[in-house]
Symmetry: C2
Subunit: 141 residues, 2 copies
DNA sequence: ACATCTGTTATATTATAAGTATAACAGTTA
DNA sequence: TAACTGTTATACTTATAATATAACAGATGT
């Protein structure tokens, strides 16, 4: 077991990573939603509880929550609590797709330099999609 | 014409972006290689010339060059100059593919939340691949 | 020989971002 | 009343990004 890592609930943080903690938190929660481990209306721990659980400062958690709120992933009721957006995340529009494309470009450029075929690259994407849909098997009943 | 932007040769920088300048430089050069605008053996401007052309500090350029050197995109001959790696960039291995997958995961997770179908996501990737191969038409002769 | 170019190294400064540490405020709930 | 909620404010440390000079050592061209 490595040192600077923390696992709490579905949250996995790597304190050694160069990726900021609050960004990791954001991604972990979005992954939870994508995997249907977090459903619309589900409550999230308070900023203090989450901070205490994973051993970081409450402001770092708050920063992540604010970002998630701004992008429509969660709702924050002033004195109630934090919940996954009950009406689901807003669907992708043209602006979002352009953002994705802009962020994807560097990876594809480097992959082309390294002779990764278009087929192999798409295969990686497909594997990731499969990974996220794996946990949806409970839908069968 | 916007203010804080600079276009020199194939290099396009956005000083308003939150993406660091040296990172933008790295990506622009890698894109140039991917598009075959920069071929193995082609010279790159000296750190001072490049810095003067795009109006930034030579250390910022040097930082980008060092990264590109470390990852095998360019060669730096001490008192000669900087050239695109004559023997091409090293091919992708399993480690690189894992890195790509790890970086891709957050985008796919968010896309799933926003109800982007696997097909639509793959289409975006295909469009990017097409974009990079567009400039390869000169191969016909 | 001399001046000019090359990458490299060193030092210093400014600005910004990340993360933490306390503290307090205003509502809610038990 | 006590314990909880998100929020705000202030202060501090650390790291990174970017700039500004300056100098060194080797190569090149005149």
């Amino acid at each position: 077991m490595k040192e600077r890592e923390r696992d709490v609930m579905f949250i996995h943080l790597d304190f050694e990573s160069e990726e900021p903690i609050y960004t990791q938190l954001i991604h972990q929660i979005i992954e939870g939603i994508a995997k249907k481990e977090l459903l619309p209306g589900d409550p999230l721990p308070s900023v203090r509880a989450m901070a205490a659980d994973i051993g970081i400062n409450l402001h770092t958690v708050n920063k992540a929550y604010q970002h998630l709120k701004q992008e429509g992933f969660i709702l924050i009721h002033r004195q109630k609590g934090v919940v996954i957006h009950p009406e689901g995340v807003s669907k992708a529009d043209a602006t979002y797709m352009e953002k994705v494309k802009r962020k994807l470009r560097p990876f594809i450029a480097e992959s082309i330099c390294r002779q990764v075929s278009e087929e192999d690259f798409l295969k990686q994407c497909q594997e990731l999609f499969s990974e996220f849909k794996k946990d949806k098997e409970g839908d069968a009943k």
